[in-house]
């Protein structure tokens, strides 16, 4: 088994934003990755951090591909299928690039910090200067590298800015333990101020927990 692990270790390379999420996760913890796609992050966490990892994914094709790789994934919807889990069932609940596609993001965030002792949330920032420029200058819905679809066919129905998200966290009494941004080149940046992060961060990434939890 040691040999297998070192073999996998050499092979695992994941996207920068996923690596940032993985770096926040403690080894051997319990993790639920919501909207896990075909399980790239989950696979990394299971093999590199020895977590007890589960995934939830809306697309059946993604689920089947992930399970065929030996991952624990269920077909499910962040909007409807989180209620069943007991409180504090996981050490981390991850919602990467999915919040903006949920029908009720406020309820989803509440659920994340209920079923996870910590939640890790990342989303495209609609307050980024390029988005503002496109909307302000062209008068049309912005299309960017991280948001390439048209307004009528995008699954992203609830865009928000970093400022909006931070307001929601305050409203829900959710504590931000860690905040960072990812710039246009995919590099992580420090979260020096809300205003600056909201202008320069293409994505926001947050480690959350319920206050007093």
């Amino acid at each position: 088994m040691a040999l297998e692990e070192s073999e996998t270790a050499a092979a695992k390379r994941i996207r920068v934003d996923l690596q940032l999420i993985a770096d926040m996760v403690r080894p051997r913890s319990r993790v639920l990755d919501i909207g896990c796609g075909d399980g790239v992050l989950l696979d990394y966490l299971v093999h590199m951090k020895q977590v007890d990892g589960r995934g939830m994914e809306l697309s059946q094709a993604g689920v089947n591909a992930g399970v065929a790789q030996g991952l624990s994934i269920i077909q499910g919807d962040a909007d409807t299928d989180l209620d069943a889990y007991p409180s504090d069932a996981f050490d981390y609940v991850i919602l990467s690039q999915t919040l903006q596609a949920t029908r009720d993001p406020r309820r989803v965030v509440e659920q994340l910090v209920r079923i996870g002792r910590r939640a890790i949330v990342s989303f495209p920032n609609f307050g980024h200067w390029r988005v503002r420029w496109k909307l302000g200058w062209t008068g049309r819905m912005p299309e960017t590298d991280s948001m390439p679809l048209k307004w009528y066919n995008t699954p992203n129905i609830h865009f928000c800015t970093i400022q909006d998200f931070l307001d929601l966290c305050t409203e829900l009494d959710v504590e931000i333990e860690k905040a960072m941004v990812i710039d246009a080149s995919g590099q992580p940046g420090a979260f020096t101020s809300r205003w600056r992060a909201n202008l320069l961060g293409e994505q926001g990434m947050f480690l959350l927990k319920k206050r007093g939890g």
């Binding site: 088994m1 297998e4 319990r30 007890d52 589960r54 059946q60 689920v63 089947n64 399970v67 065929a68 790789q69 030996g70 991952l71 624990s72 994934i73 269920i74 077909q75 499910g76 299928d81 069943a84 889990y85 007991p86 069932a89 996981f90």
Partner: protein
């Protein structure tokens, strides 16, 4: 084959394979309060048990299935019912795992059932056989696993009624099941499914040759009734799309309809054939008893209706599988089990396979299902440290 006389008239045939027998002093306690003694469990094994005894997989068969999961069937001569899945280099790899499959009690392929001689009367049990449940079947299997010296099964896998047994194993013996794969099944038998079973049972008991269950002693055979039961059930194993693809409205060996009640349509001829070959390999009373066991299955019932309590604190790794066109055990049934397992924060995978082949899809060649089976087993083997 239909011209042959049934195997289940007159003398009980001897089938090949392994046997574990318990004497009159070791009764099997049943849910009904009755007990069964003496009794025998017929089983087959494939591959080798490793030194740690950590690589055993129990396969649970469906209603009319048997222990010959990867062997030629002793009556029909057909390949084992899951040879596509089990064998060297296959998803359930006999080079790696020790595979066990036992005939459920109440059945008729070697394990004690209603066609066996009741020691108390010297005649076949017939309706004197006690009513059995899925939990009773599993209790008997557990005795076999004890006998084989296996503390914990690496996996318990089964489809349809086999899937019910998998769920029962996971609920009753959580620490003895490392991984569980319930396929195309439910945690409780639905009203619709009980209704279909009742039609089958009525067909059998309405056959005058059934003789109140004593046909073996009286030398008759309720073959017509059993065949009708099989025909009705067989429809539920398929889908509208599969039937249409296979037969459409095609006529059987004729150019036009005959304005009579012969099998004008291919689908009629097919069903008649399915019915007639079934009676050669299955006992009518076993059919009554095993359908009853499925009807009674309701895992949540003894937990006050809360299915999650049946799996509380489970460490077992689950993978549930359903098929899109299965209307006998639809995806919603598997999803209900998944929600219950989520409520205990269990380690669970859930896959719905796109197939138009209906309930029977789990027995057929479905590449995506095969890939999921292999992925789940390999992943669990990695976690269990099995090479």
């Amino acid at each position: 084959m239909s011209s042959q006389s049934s195997q289940f008239t007159g003398i009980r045939p001897e089938f090949p394979g392994l046997r574990l027998s318990f004497g009159s002093d070791q009764p099997l306690q049943l849910d009904s309060g009755a007990s069964l003694a003496p009794f025998t469990i017929a089983y087959q094994t494939y591959g080798a048990l490793n030194r740690e005894k950590s690589n055993a997989i129990l396969i649970c068969h469906a209603l009319t299935g048997d222990q010959f999961v990867a062997d030629k069937h002793p009556i029909t001569g057909k390949p084992g019912w899951w040879e596509a899945m089990i064998g060297p280099g296959k998803p359930i790899d006999t080079n790696r795992f020790f595979i066990i499959c036992s005939n459920v009690i109440g059945s008729c392929l070697g394990s004690t059932g209603p066609s066996d001689i009741n020691a108390a009367t010297g005649k076949p049990y017939g309706l004197g056989f006690p009513v059995i449940t899925i939990a009773d079947m599993v209790r008997a299997q557990a005795l076999l696993i004890d006998h084989l010296g296996i503390e914990q099964l690496f996996a318990v896998i089964g489809g349809s009624m086999g899937g019910m047994q998998v769920l029962q194993w996971a609920a009753a013996y959580p620490e003895r099941v490392f991984a569980a794969m319930p396929i195309a099944c439910a945690a409780r038998h639905s009203a619709q499914n009980i209704a279909f079973h009742e039609v089958g049972r009525q067909a059998i008991t309405a056959d005058p040759e059934w003789r109140n269950g004593e046909y073996l002693a009286q030398g008759t055979s309720p073959a017509r009734g059993l065949a009708v039961a099989r025909m009705a059930a067989h429809i539920t194993y398929l889908s509208e799309a599969a039937l249409h693809r296979k037969f459409g409205r095609n006529l059987q060996d004729r150019a036009k309809v005959t304005y009579g009640f012969d099998a004008d349509f291919q689908v009629e001829s097919y069903l008649r054939h399915q019915g007639s070959i079934f009676v050669d390999r299955f006992d009518a009373n076993s059919y009554l008893y095993i359908t009853r066991a499925m009807d009674y299955f309701d895992l949540a019932a003894e937990q006050g209706g809360q299915l999650a309590l049946a799996f509380k604190d489970t460490k077992t790794r689950f993978c549930l599988v359903s098929f899109t066109s299965d209307w006998l055990f639809p995806t919603s049934e598997s999803r209900a089990v998944v929600h219950a397992l989520n409520a205990c924060a269990a380690n669970v995978s859930f896959v719905e396979i796109n197939s138009d082949k209906g309930h029977d899809a789990f027995l057929l060649d479905e590449p995506e299902f095969t890939a999921v089976m292999k992925g789940f087993i390999d992943g669990c083997a990695w976690h269990r440290g099995i090479r």
